[in-house]
């Protein structure tokens, strides 16, 4: 029987040498005349083990990692095709604690299947949600999504079902589904991972959204920094069209729905939904004032659902298993699961899908294993460049939209960047301001000017020039930006700045004194 060897093609695995490993494995198979086949899967999300090579044995899938091309001959010598012992052997992949502790709903197939095999997709439960959707009414689909408690995984946490209902109720000759795949936040890669590892789940989620709202056209706006995701999604859409999942009759139903993949052009602000719409229309990606809501007047002035990748990719499992199944995970008003991304200076970096409610400390210390450098954790930034820095003393905060808001933070896209004790929080605060200045679309003054003034003022603090007065000025600027900016870029930049200042005041003390004290 042909043995299957899985070698990820996910960008992170490629960045760690998966292509060389795949070549070496292919060469050994040929040289030894073995009956084995290489499958290029997505990643399981255990990035510190990549390239993670898996072999399908009678006993289940066993893993070896991180594998270097130079390890490959010895793996064959150790008879790894039958799960043989080797220094890189990890045992059964699904029994590894990092994996076993997860609740994989949205990412159920990611890393498991060949991303572009529809047969694999179906064999692992794919398309069941869409089949149910075509067999029911749009109103019922909207109700199911509403009842599931799914909230926008893009950061704002707005209930997905309510957005859908607004578009469903709007009367127009044309409606759109826009998937925001402009995943620009540092520490986030969940969107990229699912687009590369299970693209059909996003297509299925968008098709369900189309049927639910009466939209016939979907766009996936993917940032240009993700060429691999763009390539995989483009091929997946072609395959889905040929299989009758997209096109004039979705799965043979009277519903038409098609998808176009679009590439961004390197503007962080286009992750903001209204600037993304402008960008899709071929304009400068400046923010639009709301109202009108995109659900009423969105792309080309038509009613538009604009959802994040993970929100849309979570819809198929909700349709398939029912709203209650999904809603039963989580805490408070945060229902279901969230793919937490552990990044930066962390020992076990990767993606961990879990029900809401787990604490920050469990994630960083137990799941993440602390820092990669082995030094003490100093701070973690949650939610990307616009997210707050949390000190270790707040590690008991549960992962929940409201709990984070209560600590002056936000979950955002659920990325966590870990910093060890060598981090300089004044520098991090300055970077937040600098990033806002680089990426501001320029439309509103608090964001455009405030951020530039912020950088200058923090530079004065660092130089020891009237630190007290200048820190007050920073706080004042933050206040103006928070309440006076049109979108989250200017509005949320105060989170990293103020949290750094509040929780790590010692880093803002005049430098000469701080150095003398060491």
């Amino acid at each position: 029987m042909t043995v299957k060897i899985y070698i990820p093609k996910d960008a992170a695995a490629l960045a760690l040498g998966a292509e060389k490993v795949a070549k070496a494995v292919a060469a050994e198979i040929a040289a030894r005349g073995l009956d084995a086949q290489i499958v290029r899967n997505g990643t399981r999300g255990m990035i510190w083990l990549e390239p993670l090579v898996e072999v399908e044995t009678a006993d289940g899938r066993v893993g070896y990692g991180p594998v270097k091309a130079a390890d490959v001959p010895s793996l064959f010598d150790a008879n790894f095709l039958s799960g043989g012992a080797h220094p890189k052997a990890l045992g059964k992949v699904e029994e590894l604690p990092f994996f076993a502790k997860q609740t994989r709903l949205t990412f159920a197939r990611c890393g498991v299947i060949d991303p572009l095999s529809l047969d694999d997709y179906r064999a692992y439960g794919g398309l069941r949600g869409l089949e149910k959707a075509v067999a029911t009414t749009p109103a019922q689909i909207v109700q199911t999504v509403t009842d599931s408690g799914l909230r926008g995984r893009g950061g704002a946490g707005f209930p997905t079902g309510i957005k859908w209902k607004t578009v469903h109720d709007a009367v127009a000759d044309r409606k759109y589904i826009v998937c925001n795949a402009d995943e620009g936040d540092s520490a986030t890669f969940a969107d990229r991972m699912i687009m590369e590892g299970d693209p059909f789940v996003l297509i299925e989620g968008m098709a369900i959204a189309g049927i639910a709202t009466g939209a016939t056209k979907g766009f996936v706006y993917i940032r240009s920094e993700y060429p691999h995701a763009i390539a995989t999604m483009t091929r997946a859409v072609e395959i889905a069209r040929r299989a009758g999942i997209l096109g004039t009759t979705v799965l043979g139903s009277p519903n038409a729905f098609d998808i176009e993949i679009r590439s961004g052009a390197g503007a962080y602000v286009c992750g903001e939904e209204t600037s993304l719409l402008n960008s899709l229309e071929g304009k400068r990606g400046v923010v639009r004032a709301k109202p009108p809501l995109p659900a009423i007047q969105g792309l080309f002035g038509k009613p538009t659902v604009i959802n994040n990748v993970i929100s849309l990719a979570s819809v198929p499992v909700i349709m398939d298993r029912g709203s209650e199944f999904y809603r039963d995970f989580g805490m408070g008003r945060s229902r279901g699961t969230i793919p937490v991304q552990l990044a930066g200076n962390v020992r076990n970096g990767g993606l961990f899908e879990v029900a809401f409610g787990i604490t920050l400390g469990e994630l960083v210390n137990e799941i993440g294993g602390g820092t990669a450098s082995g030094r003490p954790v100093k701070a973690v930034q949650v939610g990307g460049p616009l997210g707050a820095y949390f000190p270790v003393s707040l590690f008991d905060t549960p992962f929940d939209y409201e709990a984070f808001a209560g600590k002056d933070g936000l979950i955002g896209h659920a990325g966590i960047t870990v910093f060890d004790d060598t981090a300089d929080m004044l520098k991090q605060a300055r970077f937040a301001m600098e990033f806002c200045a680089i990426e501001s679309c320029g439309k509103c003054t608090p964001c455009r000017i405030g951020s530039t003034r912020g950088v200058e003022t923090l530079d004065k603090v660092a130089a020891g020039i009237e630190p007290q007065k200048n820190l007050e000025l920073v706080a004042d600027l933050c206040n103006t930006m928070k309440f006076g900016s049109l979108c989250a870029l200017g509005g949320f930049t105060p989170y990293p700045v103020m949290s750094a200042l509040t929780h790590f005041p010692e880093d803002f003390a005049p430098r000469t004194v701080a150095e003398a004290a060491e």
């Binding site: 992170a12 960045a15 890669f189 679009r262 071929g282 400068r284 990307g384 460049p385 960047t417």
Partner: protein, 159 residues
């Protein structure tokens, strides 16, 4: 006169690209991407052609081209090296990596080496934040950039 012939050629090729894509809904960004793919940058000569075909003013097209970081106004070096400078990479020493590479290549960010071999750019997240610091060389991704990787990168762009 060579330059004039060159301009005409750019205009002709631009026209062909525009004609093949203008049926798209919101075609401007796809057209600009394709033009950059074709020429390696977005030539000034392309702008009036696009504006004319899409019924836009020159200023509107210019405004869009300059808004997005991706569109180059002049050709890049033979290699393009992007170094991630966002937070997760910062936590793993991306600044030191950038300093070292700048020193070795003798250029700063947004600069091209005198021999035209390489253009160096900062990028803010490549989605490789769990294997930071990250880089991208001519579209190839590189994770956990350490001294050894830096040497390989520098050797590659000098080749």
């Amino acid at each position: 006169m060579v330059s004039q012939a060159h301009s005409t050629e750019i205009a002709t090729q631009t026209r062909a690209i525009v004609d093949s894509l203008k049926w798209l809904e919101g075609p401007l960004l796809p057209i600009l991407h394709e033009i950059q793919e074709e020429f390696g940058y977005v030539p000034q000569e392309s702008l009036p052609v696009i504006a004319d075909a899409l019924n836009l003013s020159n200023a509107e097209v210019h405004g869009v081209v300059t808004f997005y970081h991706d569109y180059r106004r002049e050709p890049a070096g033979r290699h393009v090296l992007k170094l991630c400078q966002a937070e997760a990479c910062q936590s793993m020493g991306s600044e030191k990596v950038a300093d070292k590479i700048k020193r070795l290549l003798g250029i700063g960010f947004h600069e091209t080496s005198l021999d035209g071999s390489v253009t160096l750019e900062p990028v803010y997240c490549l989605g490789l934040c769990a294997c930071a610091p990250a880089a991208m060389l001519d579209g190839e991704v590189i994770g956990r950039v350490d001294d050894e990787a830096i040497d390989e990168i520098v050797a590659e762009v000098r080749r």
